[in-house]
């Protein structure tokens, strides 16, 4: 199967295979992406993050349904953590979205973090591009808001939504510190629980203290995703943010920065692999290590020599 060609023709299996190629770093992935790239740039990307148990998948399900009701097509990438001990993962987000499985206007793909350092964000970015080229209007990227790589993924969205729930207690403080400042929007899910108003006040206080505040003050929307309450209002704030960043050139700026980051990211990862391959496969690394062990040289000198040789 010519994956890129079939994908552009609307073949869902080709789309699925393209994402596999990206995820598994197959050699043909680069070629596929080259051919898909001209067809990207039309989709709007919504990032959704928050602590475990915040109900992100249910919320994603309801948001996707609302977009479908508006006649838009939706792609969803749901990222779950890979176990660092076994390398395995349970990707369970689809359970909340079973009602969307047979809707041809929706494509859902689950991804494990696979312990990749930094690589995850460019893999998800490429998967987003595949969905974009396929013709999805809205692409939702859902990640657990713990860990830098997840935060990186979500930062790459056009609009980033942070989902919180009342009554998470003290353990939320640590998470807050990591993800709270990245929100363009805040969503308080399960807001029928006690403590919803208190949480709104706390976020407001934090936003008041934020000295980097632009003239966009992130709105806070209370929803009960399981009851489908507040979803229309929530999407209203997404639309508002979209209009705002489209109007003041911020969207273009964000996308430019994203492209820039991507090039640097891929470049450094490729150069890294290239050098690694050269010195590991040739056995030179073992030699260096031995020399360093014997105190004949030191790591810094070795690195200098390798860099000079490879990059001249």
């Amino acid at each position: 199967m010519d994956i890129a060609e079939e994908l552009l023709k609307g073949n869902r299996l080709a789309l699925s295979r393209a994402i596999t190629a990206i995820e598994n770093e197959y050699d043909e992935a680069t070629d596929i992406m080259k051919r898909l790239y001209p067809h990207t740039g039309h989709a709007y990307v919504l990032g959704i993050t928050g602590p475990p148990g915040a109900g992100k998948s249910t919320l994603t399900d309801k948001i996707a349904r609302e977009y479908r009701a508006q006649g838009k097509t939706v792609g969803i990438i749901a990222v779950d953590p890979t176990s660092p001990f076994t390398g395995g993962a349970i990707l369970g987000d689809r359970i909340r979205m079973n009602g969307l499985t047979l809707d041809e206007g929706v494509f859902i793909r689950s991804m494990g973090t696979r312990g990749s350092l930094g690589g995850l964000s460019h893999k998800t970015a490429d998967a987003v591009k595949a969905l974009d080229a396929f013709g999805k209007d809205i692409i939702i990227v859902e990640t657990v808001g713990v860990g830098q790589s997840e935060v990186d993924i979500v930062k790459a969205a056009d609009t980033t939504m942070v989902v919180l729930i009342p009554g998470m207690g003290d353990d939320i403080q640590a998470i807050k510190a990591g993800i709270l400042e990245i929100g363009d929007l805040y969503c308080i899910n399960k807001s029928d629980l006690d403590g919803a108003d208190k949480l709104v006040r706390e976020i407001n206080m934090m936003l008041d203290l934020d000295s980097l505040m632009t003239d966009w003050r992130p709105p806070i929307t209370k929803v009960v995703a399981s009851q489908n309450e507040g979803i229309t209002e929530l999407l209203g704030t997404v639309e508002k943010h979209r209009t705002y960043i489209e109007g003041n050139g911020e969207l273009a700026k964000r996308r430019t920065k994203r492209t820039r980051d991507e090039i640097l990211d891929i470049l450094s990862s490729n150069i890294g692999s290239y050098i690694k391959k050269k010195i590991v496969d040739s056995g030179r690394l073992d030699g260096y290590v031995e020399q360093i062990r014997q105190h004949e040289t030191d790591p810094y000198t070795v690195i200098g020599e390798v860099m000079d040789e490879m990059l001249k």
Binding site: E23, N24, A89, F107, S110
Partner: protein, 131 residues
């Protein structure tokens, strides 16, 4: 390259006995697989479509209600219709020995009955999966 075996664990039909499916899902995760668990009451159409979107290498189904003779072959058929002919399809649950040949004939590669160690399932997948 970072190939990973991806497995869809699904419960077709209406029975709610998911102890086995969940234990197997965990064991597969602990064996280093990526497991997509879809929960209860999945129709054959939903299972086949999820298998396509997730581009899985393996579909593992569990039924305890006796509807396997009807539902397993239907899932196999739909997965093949989607153009996914390399997917390893396996089943488990309360399935009489006498029904197994017909299920294999229909394209279910192996059927695991109660008492099977999860290690056997892992081993079977490792030996038969096509990546």
């Amino acid at each position: 390259m970072e190939k990973k075996i991806r497995v869809l664990v699904a419960k077709p039909g209406l029975d709610g006995h998911d102890r086995g499916a969940k234990v197997v899902a965990r064991a597969l995760r602990d064996a280093g697989f990526e497991v997509i668990y879809t929960g209860l009451r999945q129709t054959p159409e939903q299972i086949a479509e999820a298998a396509l979107q997730e581009d899985v290498n393996v579909v593992a189904m569990s039924i305890l209600s006796g509807a396997h003779g009807h539902l397993f072959p239907k899932v196999v058929d739909l997965i093949h219709k989607n153009g996914m002919n390399d997917v390893l399809i396996i089943g488990g649950g309360v399935i009489p020995e006498g029904d197994i040949p017909a299920l294999k004939e229909a394209g279910v590669s192996e059927v695991f009955t109660p008492g099977t160690p999860t290690g056997d399932v892992v081993k079977f997948i490792n030996e038969h999966v096509k990546l």
